[in-house]
């Protein structure tokens, strides 16, 4: 039991991932779909941050001088690479949300509703 609970951050990410996927599949409102998509993306960002973090880890910045005399133990510092990757992924996520919101505005202008089934119904009638 302890083994399972020790990795609570990964359980949290799985939970968020499932929540996002459920929202995208089952909600008919397009705005809610978009929110679920945001949760899905953030779950993955959370996962990447988890894999870089270490218990008691320091920020990975070394003093500029005297680095020759310093013994650096990798386990004292968090792994910066996944975090840097997530900076890019956050930018990608922001861009996705931006495009999706622009599309939602256009959908609202054209159909005057954001309910998926209503739009589909009217598409079939036209």
């Amino acid at each position: 039991m302890y083994e399972v609970l020790r990795h609570y951050n990964y359980w949290l990410y799985v939970l968020l991932l499932a929540l996002g996927l459920y929202g995208m599949m089952s909600k008919a409102n397009l705005m809610k779909k978009l929110i679920a998509m945001g949760i899905f993306q953030w779950a993955i960002i959370y996962y990447f941050i988890s894999i870089g973090a270490k218990k008691g880890g320091n920020i990975p910045i070394f003093p500029e001088h005297g680095i020759e005399n310093l013994t650096i133990r990798a386990q004292d510092y968090v792994n910066p690479l996944p975090h840097v990757l997530m900076l890019t992924a956050i930018v990608v996520g922001v861009a996705t949300t931006g495009i999706a919101l622009a599309l939602l505005i256009k959908i609202w202008q054209n159909w005057n509703t954001l309910e998926e089934d209503e739009i589909l119904q009217r598409m079939r009638n036209e």
Partner: protein, 489 residues
């Protein structure tokens, strides 16, 4: 200049996309010519790149001078060299054809925006092709997808709705890919493809590795529109402007197909314990997909929708080649990848020209086209015959290798699937050709086809003939060196 070629292929369309948008404020026609120049320059550099790869072997380019495992590496070998050339050439031919169509279909204020998106799309696709870094690939995948969402949304009413659905699907796919990259990173501590290949050799099989591989394949499967993950494609491509579908349909899914080949056969090896099962599953899904899409293609009333399903069934054939996983199956898959770019370019450009002439895209409206406009009917004829696999054209040779692959691997279900789905596709194509050439004419042709359309359609037809004639050369010079470099064949 020659050393910078791998980067130039990506940087030229990227820089031009900004320039195109800015120039839109100065002259109305300027953006189009800039786009044409950008795609021509890209084709030229990718051609030089391909020649260099064939002469000297794989090229590694370090972005910013950083050494590979730490910095980003662009790595061009035979497979992505040839794909980069094919993609940029077809992009050039499509762009060459469509100026008057865009000007008619899209309002003036949007021209420069649309052209900038075309250039950005090309940048993303070529970037995916040449990059040797798994995370860089994710970013470029998203660049290509973003421009595709925006381009689809420019279309008629309803286009923005399918663009939104496409966005949701595409994001799930990209996120799955990213998760897979995360698993690989935890296990190997590297993002560089060559490095990952070397590290994976000594890695024991584990459930994390299997999950990582599955996530990568699912993510790419969404972008490639493999069978159960295809639902976004027909709506998005049939409601986009006709020029946009002519650009996206031949290129986007095929580039994702290339990534699938790279992951399954280059990064992971078929000897990897769980990959055998994965390939088996892929084969069955592709089989179901091929039947389903071929039937769906027949029952459509709209030309573009029917051809979207045809495109999907061709992608399923690619999946079958991948699933065979032996020498001939792989040869067939790669050759099919190259041919399919040209075939779909030919068919979708013909549709674009047809819509331009008649402002109509019902299957019925094709009747009597053959005598009225020989160029458009030539595009349908050659593209269609190549899709079915009639001997002198490229499509025949790729199907030949695919069939050899299934026989060699003793995958009889795939053999049946290949033959039957080709037959069903033949029914659709002959139905269309009969309408074009044998039905009486009631079409009123009010305007001439723009000259550029006929040039582009003619070049597509000639390239399909050439692909048939040069099939053995392509296999010997380009495909075989890549397959033998994998080892184990």
């Amino acid at each position: 200049m020659n050393e910078q070629l791998p980067a130039l292929v990506v940087v030229i369309p990227l820089l031009f996309s900004f320039l195109i948008y800015l120039m839109g404020f100065i002259g109305r026609r300027m953006p189009y010519f800039l786009l044409l120049i950008s795609s021509a320059l890209t084709s030229l550099s990718s051609w030089k790149l391909l020649i260099r790869v064939i002469k000297e072997g794989p090229i590694s380019y370090h972005i910013g001078g950083w050494e590979p495992p730490w910095g980003i590496e662009y790595r061009v070998d035979h497979l992505n060299g040839v794909l980069a050339f094919v993609v940029s050439l077809v992009a050039f031919l499509v762009i060459l054809s469509f100026r008057e169509r865009v000007e008619k279909e899209v309002e003036v204020s949007r021209w420069s925006q649309l052209y900038a998106l075309f250039s950005l799309q090309l940048c993303g696709l070529l970037g995916i092709t040449v990059t040797g870094d798994v995370f860089n690939l994710y970013v470029l995948l998203e660049i290509a997808s973003f421009s595709a969402y925006a381009m689809v949304a420019i279309g008629k009413k309803g286009g923005e709705f399918s663009a939104f659905r496409y966005l949701i699907f595409g994001t799930i796919g990209a996120c799955c890919y990213l998760l897979g990259v995360g698993h690989l990173y935890i296990l190997t501590g590297s993002l560089n493809m060559v490095d990952i290949v070397n590290l994976l050799k000594n890695l024991p099989d584990s459930s994390a590795l299997r999950v990582g591989l599955c996530l990568l394949v699912i993510g790419i499967g969404v972008k490639m529109a493999l069978f159960p993950l295809h639902t976004w494609l027909p709506d998005a491509y049939s409601q986009a402007p006709s020029t946009v579908s002519a650009f996206l349909a031949p290129l986007a899914t095929k580039v994702a197909g290339y990534v699938l080949l790279r992951i399954l056969f280059w990064m992971f090896k078929p000897t990897f314990p769980s990959e055998k099962v994965l390939l088996e599953i892929l084969g069955w899904l592709a089989l179901i997909g091929a039947f389903f899409f071929s039937f769906m293609a027949i029952v459509q009333r709209e030309l573009r929708r029917a051809f979207c399903y045809l495109l999907l069934s061709e992608i399923s054939l690619l999946g079958m080649g991948v699933s065979s996983g032996n020498l001939d199956g792989l040869r067939g898959a790669i050759l099919h990848l190259i041919n399919d770019v040209f075939m779909m370019g030919c068919l979708f450009t013909s549709i674009c020209a047809f819509i331009h002439l008649f402002e109509n895209e019902g299957l019925k409206d094709l009747e009597g086209l053959g005598l009225k406009n020989p160029w458009v009917s030539l595009g349908f004829l050659i593209g269609g015959l190549s899709v079915i696999g009639i001997p002198p054209f490229g499509g025949f040779f790729s199907k030949w290798y695919l069939i050899l692959g299934t026989i060699e691997g003793k995958k009889w279900h795939l053999l049946v699937g290949l033959l039957v789905s080709s037959l069903i596709n033949a029914v659709l194509i002959f139905k269309i050709l009969e309408r074009i050439y044998l039905k009486g004419t009631h079409l009123e042709l009010s305007k001439r086809l723009p000259f550029c359309f006929s040039v582009s359609l003619l070049s597509f037809s000639i390239s399909l003939l050439l692909l048939g004639g040069l099939a053995s050369t392509i296999v010997k010079k380009v495909i075989d060196p890549w397959i033998f470099s994998l080892g184990g064949f």
